[in-house]
Point group: C2
Chain length 315, copies 2
């Protein structure tokens, strides 16, 4: 049984047919005007959209087509992880330049691999010719109590999953033309959305979460602003990959780890459940004299200046 609707003739549909043939059971029910999904009774729908664009989010020389597609899906899925949501499916809009047409199958392979790894079947999409390769992935999930950025309270501890700094180190080496450590490159090229971690932390009563795609310091500011509190980060506590300085780890973007606020999390139980580390890196203070959203970074109690974060429009 073909799980997809038949389509009429045309080369645009040939592109879609080729992708569907390749995707196998990573795609479900594609081909109608829209996809139909079921949100379990008692659960709320969680949805996020994320664009990965050539020369903005990646350069062709640095990553294979499979990796570009894998990252695009994982980056989108990371927003579901930050909400503590269970994956339902994704729709993907692909804009492909003629120069990339020979890579369609490699892109398709990366999308399918990530769809399987994240348990987000491809349920629909759109294909367009254009000047820049772009993958806009919209992810759908569900949660009984989605984990917002705005639920954090003064006094909460801040935790971060995993070890930071790999993407920053990889990007720095790639830009400078110097050798890239394999472990750093892997964190840049093959990120993994922390979906299971997000679900576990939501179930264990975390008060707020955000993924640190803009870097730990930048996203701590977003979480603090949304919750109207101030964040304090302890530089000496930041979990760094081998060879990474804490200030680099603090500003490293595209991490796709989770920053969590909670009154208390059983770190050992988290690691048993997910296989990941979870590290207390600071806490939240009440916003008394000014609106929340500031981030102070302390090194053994002494303030240090905060590194800047990546911003598409700052250049």
């Amino acid at each position: 049984m073909n799980p997809h609707l038949s389509m009429g003739p045309g080369r645009e549909f040939d592109v879609i047919r080729a992708l569907l043939a390749q995707w196998g059971d990573a795609a479900v029910g594609v081909g109608d005007d829209a996809a139909v999904l079921d949100v379990p009774a008692g659960s709320r729908l969680v949805v996020s959209t994320d664009t990965s664009l050539e020369e903005v989010h990646f350069r062709r020389l640095w990553l294979s087509a499979e990796e570009i597609a894998w990252r695009a899906v994982q980056a989108a899925a990371s927003d579901l992880a930050a909400m503590g949501a269970t994956p339902l499916g994704m729709v993907i809009a692909i804009t492909i330049p003629d120069a990339w047409r020979s890579e369609l199958s490699a892109l398709g392979a990366g999308i399918a691999e990530a769809a399987r790894a994240t348990a987000l079947p491809i349920v629909g999409g759109d294909t367009t010719r254009g000047a820049q390769l772009a993958l806009t992935v919209t992810v759908l999930g569900h949660a009984t109590q989605p984990l917002s950025r705005c639920g954090a309270r003064a006094g909460d501890t801040l935790y971060v999953t995993g070890q930071l700094g790999g993407p920053a180190a990889a990007l720095s080496a790639l830009r400078g033309g110097s050798p890239v450590a394999a472990a750093h490159r892997a964190r840049f090229a093959r990120p993994e959305a922390r979906l299971h971690a997000g679900e576990w932390l939501a179930a264990q009563g975390a008060s707020a979460a955000i993924d640190i795609s803009d870097g730990l310091a930048g996203d701590a500011a977003h979480l603090a602003a949304a919750s109207d509190v101030h964040a304090v980060l302890q530089l000496e506590s930041i979990p760094c990959m081998e060879g990474i300085a804490p200030l680099v780890a603090l500003a490293s973007g595209e991490e796709y780890e989770l920053l969590i606020a909670a009154s208390r999390i059983d770190v050992a139980a988290f690691t048993r459940a997910t296989g990941l580390s979870l590290t207390a890196v600071g806490h939240l203070d009440a916003a008394v004299h000014e609106a929340g959203g500031t981030v102070r970074v302390l090194h053994h109690g002494v303030p240090v200046s905060r590194p800047t974060t990546f911003d598409h429009f700052a250049q």
Copy 2:
């Protein structure tokens, strides 16, 4: 009360803040990692994604920024209409070149106007700098019994909403540099997704539907292929705008009207409910000797050759 989460500093967030300030109540709850929506109990989630790209789907000289944004939203919403779905909300990914930054407010106005007209509040999005203006709109709706392309049966009548040919005539005039009739231009520049019509037709027992964004003939082929039947269209029955030849109407894309298969629809009741015309334009035959999906066009019973349809990858 600000209905959105506070965000940290950065020019990317300034862009988002400017859009949110402009959108007012056309946007709801934007600013978390993902949006949270409720699908009514007993309803299924319906989702579709659609990219509108500069130089592919529109040219800047032909349309104002407001119209470009309006069309992008309506084109996406049209897929919900074709499913008979009730609108829930949308997420929108905007890729904006520097040369378009001065038009951000006009784009935002067109998005908001279309969000209100379609009852699809903006619940989330993504902004990126890029070489081509791109709007990828993902629309979310719900339906107890979504109207598929694949439910049509041999013997069903084919109906189409509205009057066709305006977009084809407008495009032809714009490409040729000749004057554009205001009525034709309006159908090209200000399409309206037939959301209410789709819901009404689904409730009245239509067996299948598709929007005719690829043109009536092309989309009749998709519907017939999905339902494994053959389509027969009567050229003399095609509802044409004034000054449009039926063969032009048959091939006119970007119509965003609906093609419906049903054993019978009360056309007068449809018009009373929606204010739109509904015209019987043909019927479906069983696929006996070959797989379904062919379209025959007859003119008073005499076969005529089928016009071609637009295809992004055919050039």
